[in-house]
Symmetry: D2
């Protein structure tokens, strides 16, 4: 921690700060600058109490942390890339995976048809929401366990692995029983109780970035998973909230090189939520692949205009086929399969 | 719903849209403008499926909702101000209430001392976190039930009512047993399962605004409480996330007249979270009172520099006393008690 | 400056950083912490070259400035409040001033009528745009010099002082000839050439906050005025751009105590631009007064629905009268006149 | 325009709105919905006065524009891609161009060396700032005309075309005399007087996106160039301001497909400003190429740590060579040269 004192304070005020720093377990180191006194507080910031509280003292101008606050998710702790085994697939390795399927599981027919077309086009994982977090209580909230059973049926019929969202601590075991990957949605990205419940199931966890989550906060939310003894974590960028209204969210593709730099965990990009508009999804997928994403999460629906949720951002099967064909040269250029 | 078609589309494309609108249960009404065809889709947007999915159609340029999506929280539904009975207090009436206390419940001594000083200065409700949502898993997570018991003790000792945060669906009943008001924090503002669990306890619910929640989304999150048969809802602004880094968040005081205009529920302002800096809290409280807030939520700690969480934003007892004295003329000017 | 080195770097890498710090004119001071080496670079950050460029070095993790970058606008440099003489008025003193008038100067009749009603209600300064920065080139761009002449006429008729916006370096002298205060708009808040041109006229300058300007950047933009030998600067908050769409901008009232803390210059609040909605202006003015604003800038138009620009945010004369009446108790509570 | 009336208004209030709509030159068309009355106002929104002012009327709930407000920049007006001739180069055609060079022109040696290395690596256009918009008045403000002369020298020595920023209306002719492309920076993106001055020189204009500019506003700022009879306009995304602090700005790569969809003008990506960190530039360039950018704008400096401005984001010549080599397969995959 670095503590910057205000200009022109008394010796007594300086000494009081030094005393408090020692009391909180750090060793103070004073530097007298041209305009201000700066104190380095030496000690492990992750195990000691924060000194940010010194900000309340009238003689203190600023308190600045020096260390990163995340440990287990950091590349410092684990220099090699992590890979995640999902049934017979490996995420985070040489192969780029595409997770595709409808926003919501609606009917057996809708789900099986989608599963078949996405598999035929090259997807390896089927997505579909059985529990849906909806902005309004009057919108379709998902089929619940019935939806999970349909996902299981689609898995048996096609061999695709399954990813679906967990919404409630009460459902953690039930969802884990059916799915291969547990998705934590953007609205729950700092619902730490849910993260702990998901981690404890032992299933791989895909953690979406919250709508206004700083990268450090996202990594720390991931830390909750690893700290609860589940090493199989993926980060999924899905767009952040900005002032722009042309797109539903602003997909922040710079997270790909940043997460790769800060962490060893795989990175997934969700351009459907990111754009909220099917017409932009193909270009965004190309960018994500070129920048090094390990997997894509794409919404596909047999008839988007009649989807029970978020129709505007779901691709038709035809457009999804086009996407998969057009992605090929970029996958090769990125040195992936 | 208003559907705007692209310029220069064929008759066949127009007819297809009209057909789909009818299929989804609305009655289409065509207006031919100078540059574009605009279709009004007549029907209740809250009970029919959304037409926003038409955005995926190549001939559609834009789809615009006409109705507000919230019902029970809206002033349209309930023109008079709602008031909430909390023990012998009424929130949303003529009296301005101040909820004050430490960020976290730490020790019996800390809590009781704070309770006494805030009561003496004029607060009517004691705040204190027993379950704390912390950005990092390595930070203090709260005393849990032990903290709730200390709050109960402080209530008995002082007669203050209690507000504390609910973090987990599993704790809803336990927290409701001890507290007078259940707080839903900013990170859980769209954790709809938690909102439902809180609503079902029957206790008054204070719903903080999420870090990047639009006002419409906030009202809709509140709708989850009222739709689960709990009419005792307060909205609490605590600052939104913006690009500014001088303050921790940007306290959006315009929410006071906006929520008053759109809804009948009381409005509470939390300047401690909003600023993240004790030195700005007094001015923000004055603004909140002048603009018509029904209550304030203020963090007070006997020794902020040694607080176990968020010390930088907690007031000392002396400063809290100063706040309460300086607020008086503004409370009078606002016609409150 | 504080330079944080990455963990596990070589001695040679450390020495290279120390050498560069010396080369750039600072004296390095090394602190060996638990996890990282931290270097304090001692020297005046405002007169030496920035060390932030060290961020490009592979062994450097972070570079953190210690000093504030503004000098002349800072309260450190000038502990007392500055006051600004505008004709026979003093801004920044005990009296709260209200600057009111139409968004655009349209006709002699419109302007004179508005001037009379705002004066009668208690305003002391007349606002009105002669040069208008419009998002689209097809919108009304202002009457230009003809508008300035109408403002002069209104001043002569009513005795009100005048504030109007400067848009182009070419117009600096012409605008200064007619106006009492030069307004720099939000879109030009970092148009430094225009700031310099405005400063050099010697007229008082009101600097609006840019749509996404951090407080530090705003103070530094103000520094351009004072550094060009014009001490008569006011800061005017008019709302920042956020994700919220209910209001046009988010009025950040916390800037009042913040600017008062960091600077000695007067603070003005513009709630009309801040909200973009006349129905919220009254509440926002009350908040601004309670929090210590020195002046308000309010748009008033005899018939807002027929205004040539920004009608939605202009008050009718009736509403302006109501505002001025309702403000009175808050002005008293704030200890102003 | 669509005007939504509030529920439960009187017939008289409805008639008043219809009368005003007619008075402002539109033909009203009434639709009676389930909950509200909606009025379509038929007429060209770009040539008539805006109806948004009706928002001030108590009986009006919302006013929604139907038409796009930009004309000349829109793809509707010009369905084919525009190309721009810059000396012997064509921007917006099959060839991807790289504009590279230092943030600021510092010395002849620095500039010529950079020009040679970027040319050798494949760049076709040399960038370099002679007039610099700096946040603080105490930072290096550029060499001015001397810098322009050095750029001219570098052009003669290498045959590279030149792009440099215009800061002041007073300099438009001087800058146009030396440069091949005029750059309008982010801080001046809504400095409409400067845009008009740049347009009138007849030189191609590269318009950076403002820090908090919505896409519609950016297109409308571009409209100022085309409406002043200069058809040679490029849009350049350089990152927007968001809550994230890990990067200096958030580079919004979705603007590539969006601008391509809405406009016929070429799109350029500036990842140096976007990230503010050299270590992220390579990945961002790959994404930009994959998504269809027409050109890249990259900062390169012989010794970034000693750069006179923005060192943290400038590439070394070695890293720039690596970038150009690694981009090749993506350029091919995108079907460019």
């Amino acid at each position: 921690m670095i503590i910057v004192l205000k200009p022109n304070i008394s010796k007594r005020q300086e000494v009081a700060v030094l005393k408090e720093i020692r009391k909180l377990g750090y060793r103070p180191h004073v530097m007298r600058g041209v305009a201000r006194i700066v104190i380095g507080a030496i000690g492990d910031e992750r195990t000691h109490q924060s000194l940010e509280t010194l900000m309340t003292w009238p003689q203190v101008e600023n308190v600045m942390p020096v260390q990163r606050r995340y440990k287990l998710v950091s590349r410092e702790a684990h220099p090699a890339n992590s890979t995640i085994q999902v049934r017979n697939l490996v995420i985070g390795g040489k192969k780029l995976h595409v997770m595709a399927g409808p926003c919501s599981v609606e009917t057996e027919k809708q789900l099986l048809k989608t599963a078949e077309v996405v598999k035929a086009a090259g997807a390896t994982i089927l997505r579909g929401g059985a529990f849906k977090p909806r902005t309004s209580p009057y919108e379709f909230q998902g089929l619940g366990e019935k939806g999970l059973k349909l996902l299981d049926k689609a898995r048996k019929a096609t061999g695709l692995a399954i990813i679906t969202e967990l919404l409630s601590e009460h459902h953690a075991e039930m969802v884990a029983e059916y799915t291969d990957i547990i998705q934590i949605g953007a609205r729950n990205a700092q619902n730490f109780q849910l993260l702990i419940a998901a981690a404890k199931t032992g299933k791989p966890v895909l953690l979406k970035r919250g709508l206004s989550m700083k990268i450090e906060e996202w990594l720390l939310a991931g830390e909750y998973v690893l700290a609860n003894e589940n090493a199989n974590l993926m980060f999924c960028e899905r767009g952040i909230r900005t002032f722009e209204t042309y797109t539903r969210n602003t997909l922040d593709l710079s997270t790909i090189p940043i997460i790769k730099q800060e962490s060893h965990c795989p990175v997934v990009i969700d351009p459907s939520q990111g754009a909220g508009r099917a017409d932009l999804v193909i270009a965004m997928c190309k960018g994500a692949v070129a920048m090094g994403a390990d997997a894509l999460l794409v919404e596909v629906h047999p008839n988007p205009a009649e989807a029970w949720s978020d129709g505007a951002q779901q691709l038709t099967p035809e457009r999804f086929g086009k996407l998969m064909r057009e992605l090929r040269p970029f996958i090769q250029a990125a040195g992936r399969e």
